[in-house]
Amino acid sequence: MINVHGFGNGRARLSRLVTEQKVASSPAKRRDSPPSTFASYTLTATSIGFAAANRIRGRGAIGRVHSIFSGAIDVVLRGGSMVSIVREEVGSGPTNIVTDLPRKRSMAELGVEKSDQVLRKSGEIRIGGKRAVLVSIQHARLYRTEKEFPTKPRSISEIRTNVAAVARTAASRGHHQGLGGLIPLLVPSGIEKTKRPAALNSFSRLALPRVRSLLSKIREGRISDLGTDVQNLAGLGPGLTPSGDDMLSGLMASLALIAHNLKGDAERVRRVNREIASSARKRTTMLSEEYLSQAARGETNEHFQELIKKMLTALPNEAKRSAELVLKVGETSGTDTVLGILLGFQLSLDEKSAVGVA
């Protein structure tokens, strides 16, 4: 059911939440200072990921617009790294700057164009040429992935129950245009006894032997052999972040966070993840490479982090609820990431596996 815990007297207890910091120098200052120059649109950032905050340091020209969607503007910065200026519903993430764009508006209609210059000034980011868009970052909160969860993890067998619950949920409620069809085949949950798995789409059929091979190599600790399998999965499948990438991100993020919280071999997981992320280079989109390298460090979007946390520390119903949310709003991308998360749990909970925690 619920997970109400933490510190204090009385019946109410609360968990320590993800630490977020106010970027403003003094909390008493409630009013935004006026924008430096005229702009066609001003957005207010409510949250900045830790990596994003680091990357936008400086003054003057810091990068260019890479692509624009209704929900996001992707910016490529010096050195090739990226940040995304996104709408609220995309959620906080290590490289996201979440803004207060009204629900009815689209990032794509603000007048920003591909290759527009991005300038950094005090307290703000300015995008564009003639019709500039200003993003005020003065009152944004710093988002940092919580690597070590404040709640005590449950026992291994309880976590296994959560994994099965999430696998069942994903098998029945996930979107299967990507690799979702592999969930009942790769993650035992009991659902295979009652439902015949649907026929696999061409991506899933292609991916299945490669995923199996990847998993057994990780299990055996054959880190230097991972490259080929990764190269046969990265960039595969539909989606602006291809399915294979979402799966690999989920896998790496869960391996990292599990090792951290269940006292696994964090160093080995680091090496596995580094190998995966580097093998994916040049095989996929810039944005996806970005997500992969963040995931390798256990850094991920808040919704996925929440799911992993619930799977480790909460009761099955809460883990299920968290999974339902991820699947509902993330659709195919969410489903593919959940597949990766489930595989990460499997590898970690297997005592005989090189990345096992037991």
């Binding site: 619920i2 204090g8 019946r11 109410a12 609360l14 095989r283």
Partner: protein, 498 residues
Amino acid sequence: MKGVSQAAVLMATPLNKRVLTDAGFKGSEVEKAGPDDLIIAIEAANEEALESPVARVEEMLSSRESMKAEEIRPRSLASAVKVMSDANLALISIPGRFAKREAMNALESGLDVFLFSSNVPREDEVELKEAAKARGLLVMGPDCGTSIINGVVLGFGNVVRRGSVGIVSASGTGIQQVSTLLDGEGLGLSHAIGTGGNDLSEKVGGTTTMEGIRLLEEDEDTRVIVLISKPPGPKTSAKILNAASGSNKPVVVNFLGEGDAGASKQVRAVTLEDAARMASGFVNGKRTGAHPFSVSESRVRSLAQSESSEMSKTQRYIRGLYSGGTLCYESQVVLTPLIGEVFSNAPLKPESRIDDATVSRKNACIDMGSEEFVVGRPHPMIDYSLRKNRLLQEARDPETAVVLLDVVLGYGSNEDPAREIRHTIASAKKLAGAGRRYLSVVASIIGTREDPQDLQKQAKELASVGVVLMPSNAQAARFAALVASRGAVGRKLFGNER
């Protein structure tokens, strides 16, 4: 789509390009595309058939495949108020040190506040309640676990009938016990206003309690008012009793443990069960006398006898393991006059404080929802694991005669407590049996038929592993005393029956 035989929307990564080529999409366009380019590959019968899929794709493309706007999640109270302009209540359960700020924002936006958060500094509480009073608003809390307003449960609470009894309470489980007992008799609640655990402290002075009494006095649906709290300090006590005496409706005052007949309108109840009984007396227009048990003396005695008949001589003590702090307190109130001193981490008097709450000694009632047990874990009303372990620990102790439990149902509680705990109870009894002892497990289920957990199933499953179920927490405690004393306290229980 009409006329379309194949369609794919993919980023032009090396692997995807290969997939496309294999599917028959070839050409220099595909070759030239890089990983950051999007390929829309549509195989159609003719040019015309291409139009609508291309339009559809353009439409799809302009939305980033990421989190959708289905769940409205504003990031601050201020923006929430913008989205829901007719909001009238803020339910706040954030860490105590941040709570004042948000609660104050809520009051300033004209919202009443249900403040579940605990560890809110006393000065913050005073400030909040003064601000609420100035605006004619209510602050239920801090550290308020339950309110039931207009039939809606806020926080933890049971699904109880609507009726004419109003409750103002500093204790959430107090509301739960009284309301479920009333419901069991066919009566119901108008409203239950939680005041938070510290409202009646001398510093806070009972602001919310007084306002709650006033609201219930004005409420046409309320015919009887029940006040529940642990005994407050003398100043606040006098203030409340004064308000109760001057009330236009009968008030049942339950300062747990303080029994004293007052004027006829202001009656004092010792236990929660008493409070429910007196309230129902007022509603029904006739007072019923107090009985120690709902069933006959002979039945109870024989039940107790069969529980204790297999016990070894070493088994002497009662071990209460509680999820509700008030229920733990009430049990001590009931037990102390019967069996003497009861040790606890939430004792009736400081001298009875147990040294180490993780190890019982002599007669003990442990509040397992208190700080030492709950840091970093779910609360025992939701997560039974600590109580399960403790149950086995008590079973191994040759001095344990009876284990007392509260099983609380309703919103916020575990989905299926019986399933959670019954195997452990069976194991505990087996453990005792192996040591030639009999472990008696006595419990009360705090719930109603409408609660999500299926009361009857809970009762059946617990009974099936040998749990003796009593209709109230107070009766469970009395029964435990009867068993542990091998019937000796029967004189005190039944001898003074009026």
